[in-house]
Amino acid sequence: MINLNAVDRTQAFRYMGFHGEPDEKLNQLADTCEQKLLSAVKPRYCWKLFQKQEIEFLLLGQDIQKHLEHCEQVILFCATLSQSTDTCIRLVQTNDILAGMMIDAMASAFTEQFCDSVESEILNHNFQHKYATWRFSAGYGDMPLSIQDDFLKLIHAQKRVGVCVTDSGLMIPRKSVTAIIGLSDTPVETSKKGCAICKLRQNCPYRAKGVHCN
């Protein structure tokens, strides 16, 4: 069961570039930020099921093709913490940059938590008898961000959850995720691939230290 009443702090601290045991002051700040964040977030999601061949035009790049190799159907979903979260981050950032950074990192961590819960809810309620791949997003591997616009249109994301995309492929509200889950009748790869597929691997501060971000 995924807990949406608390932020995954370990993850948030990691996003902030913090290693080791946080001191009392940092923990106190995290308490305040967590409280503010949880009262600001309005988690929303929408999804739709497609036959793979219906949406071939969206599946650009070899990595996503490989990812969905043995799948007949795909779920496209979009999850967002909504605009109120952006406003809250902006507000906190205005008079305290450290708190601003903390709440931003927490919001990112919370987005992932929310995605996990959405994913399990969709799968458990509708596709118990199928095998599902891990969720793949535009920007992973060689799948370009330029598909975001069509992706969001296909599931009416603006109308249903208020998510749009800028010309540079950035989703707004900021704490939003789109992802593709492949469904199959035969077993498929269910765990995430890690560094091999990551674009930042050349420059990654975690790898430099011999650790992982996730």
Binding site: Q93, G100, N203
Partner: protein, 790 residues
């Protein structure tokens, strides 16, 4: 309301709109990912047949197939907006519909500050659609969720729509808010103020879920109400909607009983659903709604009803404040934002915004300030200026219904200010003075109030939107005037029935113990009928005066608010909390430990005995160097570095204020321009760099995020900055970093560039022509030291 539209409604009794277009297009074979508007060209007969099916079902109005026909969404089609819209209107006309509505949906990108689209750009996009749609009978904005976007559209409609009726429907969730948080009262107040002809709700929910939303809307507007629900909710697996036509029609009957007069269907509805509405309406007559809308102001997400004393915070105003003036000259928006946050935390209901200074362009400043404040808070604003242009600049981009401060009894003021108040649907403060100055007597001021009211009513401004300021005179200079002011307040309130406003603090000017005088006058004024005291909410004893009055006047029922604020006070005066004992702490250790408020307090003390520059050079910078060295060697991490930088920043703020008051000297070791490049809106990294650079005494010109190439060049040229820092966090925005550098090299050959951001590498930085790559904020400071050789 538009006279033609009024006539149409009187004739028709009810207007029936069409039903879903998307559903019909898909049923007719629109491919996944296809662009619906293209069918206007590729299959015009099909489009006309859909319109015709709705006309045959009994719809009076059909919406053109132009929901997404704006230049952004149509860019891929290589068809002009004009061509698409004209063709769509022709297709609609061929159906023989009684009225054709030009359908305009959301632009598809979110406006600033959450998104990157500028208000003016949004206006321009809508303007193009509206001009292309001149052959239509009505202009319709539908499925809107952002009130600011709607305002851009409605303004374009009013200014370029040849007086066509404008209908607006927005999309709400069950919590009675849109995705962006817009409330029903705010929508109604704002759009009725802007002179829209009918407002309502469409999409997102089925008729049953919409009931409470429509009910509330009917309480907040005198305009005709539109309802265009979905046929229930879609199933993500089967895509089917769960309301058949019969159920839909009978559900819609309840909307008519609530007062709606314009009905149609949205997603999932078909001609059958529309026929069901037409049949239901045969036996109905419109309900007479007798409602009165209260005095209220709002932002998109918050409405403040003036049914009890509401505090207007006065602190965003440079008068007599050197530090504020400096902030305005340096375009230091963060300073203004902090003034806003402080007052809201202290309990202000509305914020007065005065950013006028002879040295600056007030219109630009007003616009920036309004946008920035609305970007972080919901508190409604009062736009305070004597400059007509600045007033209009603020009114145009304000999201909601603001107060205009002010108009007075002079003809010129009445003729310039009131038309703007009417056009933008604001409330207005009327000052009881005219060309002869401030009348000595209450009677004289009362007469001017009457005159202002008379003029406002003649322009169609509601009485509820006129607030009168009977003007506080200084008790030390004009003692006999105090009671005249209070009597005028009382008469305006009771005889004219208007709400009243007063700048309270002025009463005690020139007297000892000002706070005591101000507090007592405030209580007297509230008792006399003052609704909107303009005060400094940061002074606890002044806010407590308002809260006590509300308790004693039986407004704060059961003293809930009073106890919430003062329930923990003991009999003795509670002393302000001093953060941690700072006596044993020196500035260096405060910075190392990241103690923000302590650093400020210690700096204040130090300034009594030490030169400001000595503090900067001998304490602040060495402490920061130590922090930086610890960061580089992984003894501390980014959060601690930032905590230290923030405490150095608060020490700096104290030094800055001191220098403002005591000398012309300022700390400046060099000017640096910073920006997050065009297309990118990640700015936390850039902001950390900014603080660190400022800690070291550099003057940072922060251009913000999503900054056009030209603006970087312009700022670099203007300030002749030796160093420009550019940040980008996405691979898709690296090209705009490259373009910015190229333009800088061309136009500002003297300057060096330093770049940073998650996706950058030293190699890539070199490839795009940057002079330096900084892997973190600390390294940027080292580079700055190198460039400025200090």
């Amino acid at each position: 309301m538009n006279l033609n539209f009024k006539k149409i409604l009187e004739q028709e009794k009810f207007l029936v709109l069409d039903g879903g277009m998307g559903t019909m297009l898909q049923a007719g074979g629109l491919k996944l990912g296809g662009i619906p508007e293209m069918l206007n060209f590729t299959n015009p007969d099909f489009i006309t047949s859909i319109h015709k099916a709705y006309v045959n079902a009994g719809a009076d109005v059909v919406y053109t197939n132009t929901f997404g026909a704006n230049r952004l969404k149509m860019a891929k089609t290589h068809k002009s907006v004009q061509n698409i819209i004209k063709t769509a209107i022709a297709n609609a006309k061929n159906s023989g519909a009684k009225y054709i509505a030009l359908d305009i949906g959301p632009i598809g990108q979110l406006l600033e500050p959450t998104g990157t689209l500028k208000f003016e750009e949004a206006y321009d996009i809508f303007k193009e659609q509206i001009q292309a749609g001149e052959e239509a009978d009505f202009i319709v904005f539908e499925t809107m969720t952002d009130l600011l976007e709607v305002r851009a559209g409605v303004l374009a409609g009013r200014e370029y729509g040849n007086n066509k009726p404008i209908l607006v429907t927005m999309t709400f969730e069950e919590n009675k808010r849109t995705f962006t948080g817009c409330e029903i009262p705010a929508m109604a107040l704002t759009l009725e103020g802007l002179g829209v002809d009918a407002i309502g709700i469409n999409c997102s929910l089925g008729p049953e879920e919409l009931m409470p939303i429509v009910e509330e809307l009917c309480q907040w507007t005198t305009l005709p109400v539109i309802v265009k629900p979905n046929a229930g909710l879609p199933d993500p697996v089967t895509n089917a909607y769960d309301f058949d036509a019969e159920k839909f029609g009978s559900c819609c009957e309840k909307f008519i009983d609530m007062g709606a007069v314009i009905l149609g269907g949205c997603c999932g509805t078909t001609p059958e659903h529309i026929k069901a509405i037409v049949n239901m309406l045969k036996h109905k007559t419109p309900v007479q709604r007798n409602i009165s809308i209260p005095s209220a102001v709002c932002s998109a997400n918050k409405t403040v009803i003036i049914n009890q004393p509401r505090v207007i915070g006065e602190r965003i105003n440079p008068t007599g404040k050197k530090r504020f003036k400096q902030a305005l000259i340096e375009h230091d928006i963060d300073y203004i934002l902090n003034q806003a946050i402080q007052q809201i935390d202290a309990g202000a209901d509305i914020l007065d915004v005065n950013v006028g200074l002879p040295e600056i362009n007030e219109s630009e400043m007003m616009e920036s300030a309004v946008k920035a404040i609305q970007g972080i808070t919901d508190t409604p604003l009062q736009l305070d200026t004597t400059d007509r242009k600045a007033l209009e600049a603020g009114l145009r981009c304000y999201n909601g219904k603001p107060i205009v401060n002010s108009v007075n009894g002079e003809e010129e003021s009445l003729n310039t200010v009131l038309p703007l108040v009417k056009k933008y649907g604001a409330s207005v403060v009327g000052l009881t003075l005219d060309k002869n100055g401030i009348p000595k007597t209450a009677q004289g001021r009362f007469e001017i109030a009457e005159k202002i009211l008379h003029h406002a009513l003649a322009l169609g401004i509601r009485k509820e939107d006129v607030f009168i300021d009977c003007l506080t005179l200084t008790a030390s200079a004009e003692q006999e005037g105090v009671m005249q002011t209070l009597e005028a307040v009382h008469r305006v309130k009771t005889e004219l029935g208007l709400h009243t406003v007063l700048g309270v603090s002025n009463i005690s000017f020139g007297l000892p113990n000002r706070e005591l005088v101000t507090r007592n006058f405030l209580t007297m004024a509230l008792y006399a009928g003052l609704d909107l005291p303009i005060i400094n909410p940061n002074i606890a004893n002044i806010m407590s005066c308002v809260r006590t009055y509300k308790l004693l006047a039986n407004i704060d029922k059961n003293a809930v608010d009073f106890i919430a604020h003062y329930g923990n006070d003991t009999a003795q005066e509670s002393k302000p909390k001093i953060p941690q004992d700072s006596s044993n702490l020196n500035l260096e250790s405060a910075i190392l430990a990241g103690l923000k408020s302590e650093a400020g307090i210690i700096t204040k003390k130090l300034l009594a005995s030490t030169e400001p520059m000595e503090i900067v050079n001998n304490i602040l910078i060495p402490a920061l160097d130590r922090v930086g060295a610890d960061f580089e060697t992984d003894k501390i991490f980014l959060p601690q570095l930032i905590a230290s930088a923030s405490s150095a920043q608060s020490a700096f703020e104290v030094i800055k204020a001191y220098l403002c008051e005591h000398s012309t000297e300022s700390v400046n070791r060099g000017t640096i321009v910073l920006a997050t490049v065009k297309g990118d809106i990640h700015d936390i990294g850039k902001n950390i760099v900014k603080i660190l650079l400022e800690n070291y005494g550099y003057e940072v010109i922060d251009l913000g995020k999503d900054v056009p190439y030209e603006s970087v060049v312009e700022a670099t040229n203007k300030t002749h900055a030796l160093l420009v820092g550019l940040s980008a966090l996405m691979t898709t925005t690296l090209p705009s970093m490259e373009a910015t550098i190229k333009l800088l090299k061309q136009h500002c050959p003297w300057c060096k560039t330093v770049v940073g951001g998650a996706v950058l590498t030293a190699d890539y930085a070199e490839k795009i022509g940057a002079d330096f790559y900084a892997k973190d904020a600390k390294e940027t400071v080292d580079i700055a030291k190198q460039v400025f050789q200090n």
